[in-house]
Amino acid sequence: MILEIKDLYVSIEDNLILKGLNLKVNGGETHAIMGPNGTGKSTLAQICMGHPSYKIESGDILLDGESIIDKTVDERSRLGLFLAMQNPIEVPGVTNFDFVKAAVQTRMSKDEHLRIGKFILKFEKASQDLKMGQGLAHRFLNQGFSGGEKKRNEILQMKMLNPCFAFLDEIDSGLDVDALKLVGQNVTELKSNDLGLILITHYQRLLDYITPDFVHIMINGKIVKTGKDELIKRIDQEGYDWVKKELGIEDEDIKPYSLGVCPSKH
C-alpha cells in the first residue's frame, strides 16, 4: 500500500500549521520525521487520522491513490491507519480489555466471530511482550497509567490491530532506557512489507532500535530536507540551526509581528 500526502495545508483555529507538506510512504518503509517543537509534526499525524479540531485548507491525503480526507476517523482506522498518540487519552470506566476487544471486533466481517480464547491469549502475549503487568487488562483505559505505561499501551494496541500505516508520535518520550529498548524491539518485530512506519521523534536513541529508511526534517509546517542516518547524527549534535542556515529559513518566532495597537516607546 502507499500513503501519500500531497501539498497539504492545515490550520487549527485559524492558525496555518502545515504549509504545503509532501510525503510518500510505501508499505514496508520506515520514515523518521524530526523537527523543532511546534513545527507541526503532531498536526501531520493527527490530520491523517482525522482529528476533528484540524482543518484541511488544501491538498490531499491518499491511500493507494484514493483520497481519504472525506472519510471518518473510524473508517480511516479500519482502512489500516494507526496513530500512537503523543498524549494518549484517558477513558475512565472503560477497561483496556473491553476497548481492545471492541477495536478488534469492529475489524471483523459480519459473519466472522471473535474467538474469545484466542483473543485473550493474543492480548496476554502482547502485554507480556511489552512487560505491561497482569492487572492491566482490567484497568481503565490509560487512567492512572504512568507516562511510560501509556506509551507501551499504544504499542500494545498497534500489535493487536495490525495497521498498514502507523504514525508513532514521540513514542520514546517518557520511556526509561529499558522500556525504550523493549518498545524498539517490539516495533521492529512488527516491521513487514505490509507496514509503513512514520516515526516522529526528537532523539537518535529511538532510531538506534528502529532503523529508518528515510529521515525527514520538518520546519515551519513542511518537510525541508530528506536524507538518511547522517541527518540524525547531525541533528543530535547540532540541532536545527544549520539546516535553517543552509536553506535560508528564517525563524518565524523571531519575525517582528504586530500585537495590534500598542503605545510605542521611543
Binding site: V73, F82, M85, G93, T95, T106
Partner: protein, 303 residues
C-alpha cells in the same frame, strides 16, 4: 405480590405488601421494625406497602450485613426508611426504587451510625418519574464511616431532586460520596450534596465527587456541592465534572476503529460499569444491567 422470579429463590428473602409477608429470611419484623440479628446477605422486596410510619432497619452490634432493597411502590408515595447501624456493625446496602410513570415520589433515607460502624450505600436510581429523595447520614459514633455510590440515569421526562447530607458528629469520621449521573431526553437531575463537620470532630474526612454526562440538548444536570466545616484538623474535598461527552475520548476510541455508536456506548458504559461491578450478587447485577440496557437503548446514537 409480583415478586421477581429470581428473588423467590433466595433463601434470605423477606417480601411484603399490604396483604402478605413472605419471611424466608426469618427476620424479626414487628410492625415497621425489621431487626437483623444474624450475619447474612438479605433480599428485601417491597411492593405497594402502605407505610404510614417509617420503616426501620436495625443492624445489631458487630454484625456485617448486606441488604438488597428493591421496591415497587406506586400507591404510597411518601416513604421514610431508617437504618440504625450499631457499634462495630457494617451494612452494605443496595437500593433500587421503582415507581410508575409520572408519580411524584417522596423518599427519605436516614442512617444513624454508632461508634466504628460503617455503611456502604449503593443506590441505583433508574426510573421515569418525579422523585424527591433526601439521604441523611449521621455519623454519630467515633470512627464511623459512610461510602455512598449513586448511579442515576434520567430519561424521558424524569425529574429528580436529590439531597444528600452527611453530618460528621464525632471524631475521626469518614464520608465519601460518588455520584455518577447520566441524563438523556428531557430529564432533569438536580443534586445538592452537603458535608458538615462540626467543631471538635478532628481527623474527620469528607469527600465527594460528582460526575455527570448529558446526552441530549434538552436534559439538565445540576450539582451543588457544599461543605460546611467548623474544624481545622480535617480533610475535605469536592469536585464536579458535568458536561457533554468528551470529544477527545470519543476521538481516541474512533481512532481505533470503533464506530461512533460503539464509541459512545462504551463511554456511557464507562459511567455505569464501575457501579455495576461493585454489586456482589450475580442476579441483582444482571437485573440492573438489563434495566440500564433497556433505558439506554438507542441513547448512544448521536442526535
Amino acid at each position: 405480590m409480583n415478586i421477581l422470579k429470581f428473588l423467590k429463590e433466595k433463601k434470605t428473602l423477606i417480601a411484603f405488601d399490604n396483604e402478605q409477608v413472605i419471611n424466608k429470611a426469618k427476620i424479626s419484623k414487628k410492625n415497621n421494625h425489621l431487626n437483623f440479628e444474624k450475619e447474612n446477605d438479605y433480599f428485601v422486596f417491597i411492593e405497594n406497602y402502605n407505610l404510614t410510619e417509617k420503616l426501620v432497619f436495625e443492624v445489631n452490634k458487630g454484625l456485617n450485613l448486606r441488604i438488597y432493597l428493591i421496591t415497587y411502590q406506586s400507591k404510597n408515595l411518601e416513604i421514610e426508611y431508617e437504618f440504625n447501624i450499631e457499634e462495630n456493625a457494617s451494612l452494605e446496602l443496595y437500593t433500587n426504587f421503582n415507581t410508575r410513570r409520572n408519580n411524584k415520589f417522596n423518599l427519605k433515607l436516614n442512617f444513624n451510625l454508632d461508634e466504628n460502624a460503617s455503611l456502604k450505600l449503593m443506590s441505583a436510581l433508574i426510573f421515569n418519574g418525579n422523585l424527591s429523595l433526601s439521604t441523611n447520614i449521621n455519623l454519630n459514633g467515633k470512627k464511623s464511616s459512610a461510602e455512598v455510590e449513586v448511579l442515576n440515569i434520567g430519561y424521558k421526562d424524569t425529574k429528580f431532586n436529590i439531597d444528600q447530607f452527611v453530618r460528621h458528629l464525632n471524631k475521626s469520621t469518614v464520608s465519601n460520596i460518588n455520584n455518577s449521573l447520566i441524563a438523556t431526553d428531557k430529564s432533569k437531575l438536580k443534586y445538592s450534596v452537603s458535608g458538615f463537620i462540626a467543631k471538635g470532630n478532628e481527623l474527620s474526612k469528607a469527600h465527594q465527587s460528582n460526575k455527570g454526562i448529558m446526552l441530549s440538548d434538552s436534559c439538565e444536570i445540576e450539582v451543588e456541592p457544599k461543605l460546611f466545616i467548623d474544624e481545622y484538623n480535617v480533610e475535605a474535598s469536592h469536585g464536579a465534572a458535568i458536561g457533554q461527552m468528551d470529544e477527545m475520548q470519543l476521538y481516541y476510541l474512533l481512532s481505533r476503529g470503533l464506530t461512533e455508536q460503539q464509541a459512545r456506548s462504551l463511554i456511557i458504559f464507562g459511567y455505569t460499569n464501575p457501579f455495576i461491578s461493585m454489586i456482589e450478587d450475580k442476579d441483582i447485577k444482571r437485573l440492573l444491567t438489563s434495566q440500564i440496557t433497556r433505558v439506554m437503548k438507542g441513547k448512544a446514537d448521536n442526535e
